[in-house]
């Protein structure tokens, strides 16, 4: 009876305690279950309301959640703060866009090129970035993402700064992504599948080494672990998750632009992970829901009926910045993470 979303330590502690105590449903697990169930039911809800808007909105939320889940692997479990992960979202999107532009619409080709190309790029970038220690790592990931942003902007053939539209969504043969509900469930499957795979990874040997590096890297080296290789591998895996998110984003919006790899989006990802719960599997999903719902609420603010509404609607990004500031200063474990921490506190 090993918990799926706790950290491995709490899992072990809980498993031991569970033998002695009566099994109580963990509150955060209930939240997790409800969240996933809720996500699965959104299209039906949307259909009932006759509003396709919610399908699009929650599709976007899930894509961002997916990217944040990827970032969480290196940031939460590996303590490598990357402020440039949106780069890989851009890579995924541009692969889909450029291949479509040149007439290659086969989704499997898109996927293969994106994963192989994105993986190679991530290995190269990761290799350079990991040379830098501590705070320099953060700075260099930001700098490199910016470099590729400039590269994307300079691609005049592909729209440059404005980006370009994609004629049709990736053709996977078995599913028709042009149906928004089908696309929604493909995104949901990608998110759920990634969560499951990362859950296995985090509890496997690799995950333990990664977390060991976060906890005490000096000791890990003294125990003979190839810490550099492990960190690079984790970085590449997390990048690939973001590449997948980018592919899905291009398909959803049918648009590709350099803004997908802008450092502001990288910053959003960092906020989302911390807001939800650093180092918990579902934290980033909760964070993405909260952050994007807040964005929507702010940009269509209509509470007071006075001039304040207009102010908030125009300058919602400033309010978002204020929230990010408060999250950084005041939030210890993130919203979902706090639930997990309280449960872990009780069981150990």
């Amino acid at each position: 009876m090993v918990d799926t979303t706790l950290t491995p330590a709490a899992s072990a502690a809980h498993a031991a305690a569970a033998g002695a105590a009566r099994w109580r449903p963990a509150p955060h697990l209930c939240v997790a279950g409800l969240l996933l169930a809720g996500l699965a039911l959104v299209p039906l809800f949307s259909l009932w309301l006759g509003q396709s808007f919610y399908v699009t909105l929650v599709s976007r939320i899930m894509i961002l959640a997916l990217a944040a889940v990827g970032l969480n692997l290196v940031m939460g479990y590996g303590a490598l703060v990357s402020f440039g992960h949106a780069l890989y979202i851009g890579v995924g999107a541009y692969v889909v866009g450029i291949l479509s532009f040149h007439g290659i619409a086969n989704g499997w080709v898109h996927l293969a090129v994106a994963l192989v190309g994105g993986g190679a790029l991530a290995a190269l970038v990761g290799l350079v970035c990991l040379r830098a220690q501590g705070v320099a790592f953060i700075m260099i990931t930001l700098a490199f993402a910016q470099m590729f942003y400039f590269l994307a902007v300079s691609l005049k053939a592909y729209g440059g700064d404005d980006g370009f539209a994609i004629a049709a969504r990736s053709d996977f043969g078995v599913v028709d992504l042009n149906n928004s509900v089908t696309l929604y469930y493909v995104i949901f499957a990608a998110l759920a599948g990634t969560l499951f795979c990362l859950h296995r990874l985090v509890h496997a040997r690799f995950g333990m080494v990664l977390q060991g590096c976060r906890s005490n890297e000096r000791r890990m080296r003294a125990l003979g672990f190839p810490t550099g290789q492990v960190k690079l591998t984790a970085y590449v895996i997390s990048a690939l998750v973001c590449v997948l998110a980018g592919m899905l984003l291009a398909n959803l919006t049918r648009f590709v632009s350099p803004s997908y790899m802008h450092w502001l989006l990288s910053g959003d990802l960092v906020v989302i992970v911390v807001l939800g719960g650093l180092g918990t599997l579902l934290g980033p999903v909760v964070g993405a829901v909260l952050w994007l719902v807040m964005e929507e609420a702010l940009s269509s603010f209509h509470l007071t009926g006075g001039p304040l509404d207009e102010l908030v609607r125009t300058h919602w990004l400033g309010v978002a910045g204020f929230v990010a500031l408060v999250v950084a200063l005041a939030l210890k474990h993130g919203v979902y993470g706090a639930l997990v921490a309280r449960f872990e506190g009780r069981s150990s």
């Binding site: 090993v2 502690a13 296995r200 496997a204």
Partner: protein
């Protein structure tokens, strides 16, 4: 059984010579204590033996083979394990997971992505055995952050042993322990004596005389004496070096 031989080791930090032509000879299977006043450079020496610090000159021979240029990971995988004076464990993990990491380090396989470690017998069983050996079996599933200092020092030793080393470098394993706890640690070390070649850095003189086959005295980075505990006890230079510090004479 493995021998460790250090010759002419030098380490300078700017104007300070921390290790000054140091010589050490550890015979196979012996417990070789390293004592000396505070600031003598003992931990710096251990760092150089483990590979975490590169000496400026000198040689380190493991069973006759030169290893002075080998990196930390290589040494850990080829027989050298060390414990830390300031406890260096993984506080967010349980005691069991800590030792399992040590076991995992020894048998490799960091790139396994699917099988949960909690169900991996090849990691769990040796780790539990080690915990039993150091007397921590009943706190196996407790988070290390909730363990007392003495228990953490025992865990420190368990992790070091998990590497199945040939040579163990123990940096003040009894640091900060109560008298009772120290005695337990001494009993433990006596039980594993002969299985490894051990360099034991310690301030606790009772422990040193109870355990050591030979003792090297280090002062200002140099080795000023080496011999059996009795010979060291009566050595005039050692007495004067310790004047004002702990009483060496029984």
């Amino acid at each position: 059984m493995t021998s460790l031989h250090v010759e002419g080791l030098v380490k300078r930090f700017g104007g300070l010579t921390a290790t000054d032509n140091f010589k050490l000879d550890v015979r196979p299977g012996e417990i070789h204590a390293l004592i000396g006043p505070n600031g003598a450079g003992k931990t710096t020496l251990i760092n150089q033996l483990s590979g975490e610090l590169q000496p400026d000159a000198g040689s380190i021979l493991l069973d006759g083979a030169e290893i002075v240029h080998r990196p930390v990971q290589w040494r850990a995988l080829n027989g050298i394990a060390r414990s830390y004076q300031i406890t260096s464990v993984f506080s967010e993990f349980t005691a069991l997971q800590n030792v399992m990491l040590g076991v995992q380090g020894q048998c490799g396989g960091s790139f396994s992505f699917w099988q949960p470690v909690s169900r991996d017998r090849t990691l769990v069983e040796p780790a539990l055995a080690l915990l039993r050996q150091v007397g921590l079996a009943d706190v196996a599933h407790r988070r290390v952050s909730s363990l007392a200092h003495g228990a953490r020092r025992q865990l420190e030793l368990a992790i070091t042993m998990a590497l199945k080393p040939k040579v163990m470098l123990l940096d003040e394993p009894m640091a900060g322990m109560s008298h009772q706890e120290s005695q337990e640690m001494v009993a433990l070390l006596r039980a594993i004596k002969g299985r490894y070649s051990i360099v034991l850095v310690e301030h606790d003189m009772d422990a040193v005389f109870a355990l050591a086959d030979r003792v090297t005295v280090m002062v200002y980075g140099r080795s000023i004496a080496c011999g059996t505990p009795d010979a060291i006890r009566n050595h005039p230079e050692v007495r004067s070096a310790y004047l004002g510090d702990e009483e060496v004479v029984a």
